[in-house]
């Protein structure tokens, strides 16, 4: 594996809780987990922070590092940026304003809806789709786990990713600037905190893709604030002007929301990372040449399915549907001034991640590949995971890369023991004679 500097990852392992089972091993979409010495290890370069392992770990050994609510006190002025999926976490929520008002009462000076950012982003993507030169389908940049998945597993599709920043970034830029102007304060003193449904967004704030620095200062998980916020919902909101996002923007909380916003008739929305992989393979093969836009969400149901949410994704999805029904036409209420005022577009290229590469040198990579093929042909093909690698194939790769030995395979070991036992018997016979 190519070694690189230590990257920040929100998804971590709590070693003492891990039992070294194969649950996460089998589910990781980038084969980034190995069990060594009875514990799981995450291969830094490969992890895309999708959070699949957090979801499947029976022992809660996989966790997401997020910021505590108390971290907002480092800033003089604090703005909450709730993900639209947050609105789906409460049973029969009376209005979105109840949530926004509740956040303000929790210590935030202001609230700016990420759904409003999504309105602006929707318009920016629509502009991009007018360019016939962009390779089709244009791929959404909203789910950071999918963007990272493409960097690792589909480097040839990077050019398809639309160069528009994520709604939370756009929301943070607008929120900060508007607050600073309105109150005449220094923008540096304003902290923007995203209320996040997933670890991928946390990582995207620390390590932005396609631009230098994030406009977001921290990420607090939905679970962290859930209890406190629910208790605030009984109060009648005083400020109804906070709620200004359209139903289209709120709809981004669930799979299909973005598609409806940018290209209702010619887009495809896919949720669940394995499903996304299947469709990305098809895009690679040029089987979806008539598709205009691809929206992929790593989580089932879209952001409402994020592992840091409280409510299950089906319930949250229907709650969102109830809240965002006023608007049935994909009309956006975003004035064109917004479009030029902020940096809506990425400033840098998205680069491929070469973590899957066997070697930097092609000749050496081919030699390794040959050895891998040979070893693989000798393996049982059970993909049992007992060796600590997710499949027999990855085990062969690990052995050739020097990260495992043949005898880590219990089936190879059994064969070896049989041979040795026979040798002992033979030896015993000869010495007796």
């Amino acid at each position: 594996m190519v070694t690189k500097e230590k990257r920040f990852h929100s998804v971590r392992l709590e070693g003492e809780k891990c039992r070294g089972c194969t649950n996460c091993l089998k589910r990781c979409p980038t084969e980034a987990i190995r069990v060594r010495g009875g514990r799981a290890h995450i291969i830094d370069e490969r992890c895309i922070d999708c959070g699949e392992c957090i979801r499947v770990c029976s022992y809660h050994a996989k966790v997401a590092v997020t910021d505590p609510l108390s971290s907002i006190s480092q800033f003089k002025y604090k703005i909450a940026l709730p993900a639209p999926s947050l609105y789906g976490q409460f049973n029969n929520l009376k209005s979105i304003s109840h949530v926004l008002g509740g956040l303000k009462r929790m210590g935030f000076d202001d609230v700016y809806e990420v759904a409003r950012g999504a309105d602006v982003v929707s318009k920016a993507i629509r502009e991009r789709l007018k360019d016939p030169k962009l390779p089709r389908p244009v791929i959404s940049s909203a789910c950071p786990a999918i963007v990272r998945l493409i960097q690792v597993r589909f480097p040839d599709l990077i050019d398809h990713i639309v160069d528009v920043r994520q709604p939370m970034e756009v929301a943070a830029m607008i929120a900060r600037q508007e607050f600073a102007r309105k109150h005449g304060v220094n923008p540096e003193e304003i902290g923007c905190f995203f209320i996040t449904p997933c670890p991928a967004k946390v990582t995207a704030i620390r390590n932005p893709i396609g631009h230098e620095k994030s406009a977001v200062n921290g990420a607090i998980s939905v679970l962290e604030i859930y209890g406190l916020l629910s208790s605030q919902l009984k109060n009648t909101p005083v400020d109804l002007t906070l709620e200004e996002a359209s139903d289209i923007g709120v709809g981004w909380a669930r799979s299909g929301g973005e598609s409806f916003a940018v290209s209702p008739d010619e887009a495809m929305a896919v949720d669940g990372i394995e499903n996304c992989i299947r469709v990305l393979e098809e895009i690679e093969d040029n089987r979806l040449k008539n598709l205009e836009f691809f929206e992929g969400a790593a989580c089932t149901g879209g952001c409402v399915g994020g592992p840091l949410n409280f409510e299950n994704n089906y319930v949250a999805r229907s709650e969102i549907r109830k809240l965002a029904t006023r608007q049935t036409e994909p009309e956006l209420n975003v004035d064109s001034g917004m479009m030029t005022k902020y940096d809506l577009y990425m400033s840098g290229r998205i680069l491929p991640n070469s973590a899957m590469k066997l070697d930097d040198d092609l000749m050496e990579a081919m030699r390794k590949m040959e050895k891998i093929e040979k070893l693989y042909s000798e393996l049982p093909g059970f993909d049992c995971g007992s060796c600590g690698s997710p499949t027999c194939r990855t085990f062969a790769e690990d052995v050739i890369q020097g990260d495992a030995t043949r005898m880590d395979c219990i089936h190879m070991m059994k064969d070896q023991l049989r041979v040795m036992a026979q040798q002992m018997v033979d030896l015993a016979k000869t010495t007796r004679e």
Partner: protein, 141 residues
């Protein structure tokens, strides 16, 4: 330059359930070798087309991947039925795909032209009653 890597995949006629599997494995192999994105894209498109051609039109055959430091080569070799008129087969929009294949979205008559467009070098040899061999290479630099 000697071929350093060779992988062959048998492709069954009419096997739509497994269609595309060889292409997926070939893509994975090339990504692990670190083949650059642009070449990868061309190989992916041509590879899937040629694999589907084997499924739809041939009586079965083999898809072979060869890699050397200069190029990636794909060879599709089938056991029939052979193409009577190659020029016609190479024409955009011409297809002999079955009704079954058409319901699955194939048969637009873009297969062979698409392969030719994506490959650096493209060669097709065919004899009726014997079989067809398509050789495509993709330059690495």
């Amino acid at each position: 330059m000697a071929v350093l890597l060779e992988k062959s995949f048998p492709v069954e006629a009419g096997a739509f359930t497994t269609a595309g599997e060889a292409s997926t494995t070939i893509k994975r192999t090339l990504k692990q070798l670190g083949i650059n994105a642009e070449v990868l894209r061309h190989v992916s498109v041509a590879c899937y087309e040629v694999e589907l051609n084997l499924v739809i039109h041939s009586l079965g055959g083999t898809l072979t991947l060869l890699v050397d430091p200069e190029k990636v080569t794909l060879i599709s070799k089938d056991v029939g039925p052979g193409i009577p008129d190659i020029d016609k087969a190479m024409t955009e929009g011409f297809s002999t795909a079955s009704a079954e294949a058409r319901t699955l979205g194939f048969g637009a008559g873009m297969g062979l032209p698409n392969m030719k467009r994506n490959a650096t070098e493209f060669d097709i040899q065919s004899e009726v009653g014997v079989g067809t061999t398509i050789t495509m290479s993709f330059a690495l630099r």
